[in-house]
Amino acid sequence: MSNIGYLSLLGALALSVYATLALFFGARRRLPELIASGRRATIGIAILNAVAFLALEYLLIVQDFNVEYVARQTSIGQPLFYTITGIWGGQEGSLLFWVLLLSLYTLGVMWVHRDDAPELMPYVLSVMNFVMVFFLVVLNFSAPPFRRLDFVPVDGQGLNPLLQHPAMIMHPPNLYAGFVGFTVPYAFAMAALLSGRTGATWVRLSRRWTLIAWMFLGLGMLLGGWWAYNELGWGGYWAWDPVENASLMPWLIGTAFLHSVMVQEQRGMFKVWNMLLIILAFVLSIFGTFLTRSGVLDSIHAFAVSSIGVYFLVFIAITLLGSFMLLYDRLPLLKSERELDAPLSREAAFLVNNILFLGIWFTVFWGTMYPIISELVTGRRIFVGPPFFNMVAGPLLLVMLALMGIGPLLPWRRTSWTHAKRHVIPPIIFALVLMVVLWLVGVRRWIVVVAYGVVGFATAGHILEFWRGWRAQRARSGSHPVAAFFELIAKNRRRYGGYIVHLGVLLLTIGVIGSKFYEQVVDITLAPGERTHVGEYTVQFLEAEGSRDQIKERVATPLHLWKGERFLGTLVPSLDYYFKVPGGQRETEVAVRSSLFEDFYVVLTGVNRDGSATFKIFINPLVAWVWAGSLLLLFGTWVAMWPDPREERILERLRAREASRRSLLGTSQA
């Protein structure tokens, strides 16, 4: 089976080189046979990638330990579930998964736009296949997944225990779907430049793909945070780890792009800027993979250390150079149709929003790369930790939230100060009242009061937007109040989908502020049967229980939990020892009791000889709001990317025209 995998990957590489060239020259020289052949080659690549992926899955399932990757990722007794999903637990498998996803995206683009934009599509596919060439080069020559060992080990090492968690099954696929997804809008942008057709078509056709990539990346980060919270046992969900930052960076730039591209659609402005943003988002998604997979920076993801970094750096350099040269060459085609009319307008707010997003991105980039930069300059690796990111990015994020509250209140083009005031003052009053109330109820940290004030301002602004929109919709349609609300959203999906996303961000921020500033941590040691109080809670340790299976030994320490007089249940934090991992590996299994307002979070840090156990207990306020906000954000994205019937009508119209042009062409050729 590994031979089939080898040959498939080699064949896919050859076909991807061919498809890139055939589609490019087919479009340039107007050779229909070459374009048709390039399309078929694209299908062929997908088939071969799928065969290679299935071959590796088969080898993992049958546990052919002669294959190096199988020996590293699985072991006898490892649950089948983790053996199957362990394919993306290591470098070679995850790169193979990456090319499979890229193939799926490419087929998706080919199918969805099979009758659209003939002047763009061959180039779009050519660019996507070019990206495929790079990953297949890496897979064939630097990280081959089917490499065999000189011997057959009796057992494998097994999947990294940290990755044996339900969230880790979904986290990498979503993250990769996000990273890979940015290839699509990038390919559309490059196709627009290559074909010289830099009008509205590429923006319209790629918008939904950008949202899909953005949504997956967001979902990937959410699952990553959930995994970190429930698996790593340090009580948090975001640590500004380089690999977390690697996914945040393209997401930030993607967010800037999604905002500024609206200005291009509405006003014909920011055309060069949008090109720059999408190039940056794509390069950052490759850079993210580079950070994850090269091991260039120390992090908890250091299990991914490898030597593929050079390949990635060369590809990033080629991509940047090629994209910028092409962009420079096409600058005359990208002149703005209009100029900014007034500072009090939505497009001006979007401009500031973009500057802030870039500022936050640069902060994250600088902090992430600082160890390398400092080593290059001083010869010493200096790491900047969460305090740097919190101190620099935190205030920028607050300003961003304030702007997020102002932007929706402003119309396109311009408004008068009188009208702007009428909309901005009520949320300001609400924010001030909220801040006073917070102070009166005992919140004494000024930064928290200010931060919640900003969140209150933005939330009030958005709720007022919904209310005013609903009132206007009712007046216009005369519908039932509930129906009018849904009509409002259905008729303005992009606008109100965006507002739902904003509300999701605000909920998430409420959770972040609460859990960041009001976390309580205590270390306690309890003898069997002993009780103690932690805040309003009472915990009683029962007795340590040991168990063993084929891959690990476990010590579980059940705890009874009460809040006041109310019994909440039994929590079972545990310590696992994975003895098959070289050198052995100890992992904590966290126990969490979640509620809307706070989480009671217990980590077992050790069991002592006298039978007592030591725990680290966190009381984390408002963490549930982080997850709820993230889910609302995803829901809003889904609303915003729901197909727009008006746009569909336009595309149908264009398809019909193209079909009639082709039939005329066919008749004349016949």
């Binding site: 089939i4 040959l7 229909p32 052949s37 009008g199 083009r413 005013r468 929109g469 303005n492 050729q669």
Partner: protein
Amino acid sequence: METWVSVLVGLGLLAGLVGYVVRPILRAGRQPSAEPWLPDPTDTSTEELAELLFQRDALLAALHDLQMDLQMGKIGEEDFRRLDALYRARAVEVLRRLDELQEGEAEIAPTEAAEQTWEAWIERAVERARQATSSSPT
């Protein structure tokens, strides 16, 4: 033995795919091409049509937003009238260019069902403005 079988299966798969990929080239010239992605650099009419339709769509959305902004009190009457006239003038220009491409009429005429929709209302308004402009003496 097993190795040889898997190599043969792999090579067979590759050979089949190569045949599938080169088939359009081998059959070139035998029949008219049905390739839907054949760009014609000399014919920019579809692209122009796409641009005009997207522009029209953006203008309709802008008129819709403007109306909403007025109803929500985000802009004053004066700004509304000025911007409304500006967008309508642009919409008329776009519709005229669509007419020139012989594409305008069928698309603009609203159906009975569509009469109820907000978009149709705007389209009718723009259409009236367009007719008024075209019938006025120049």
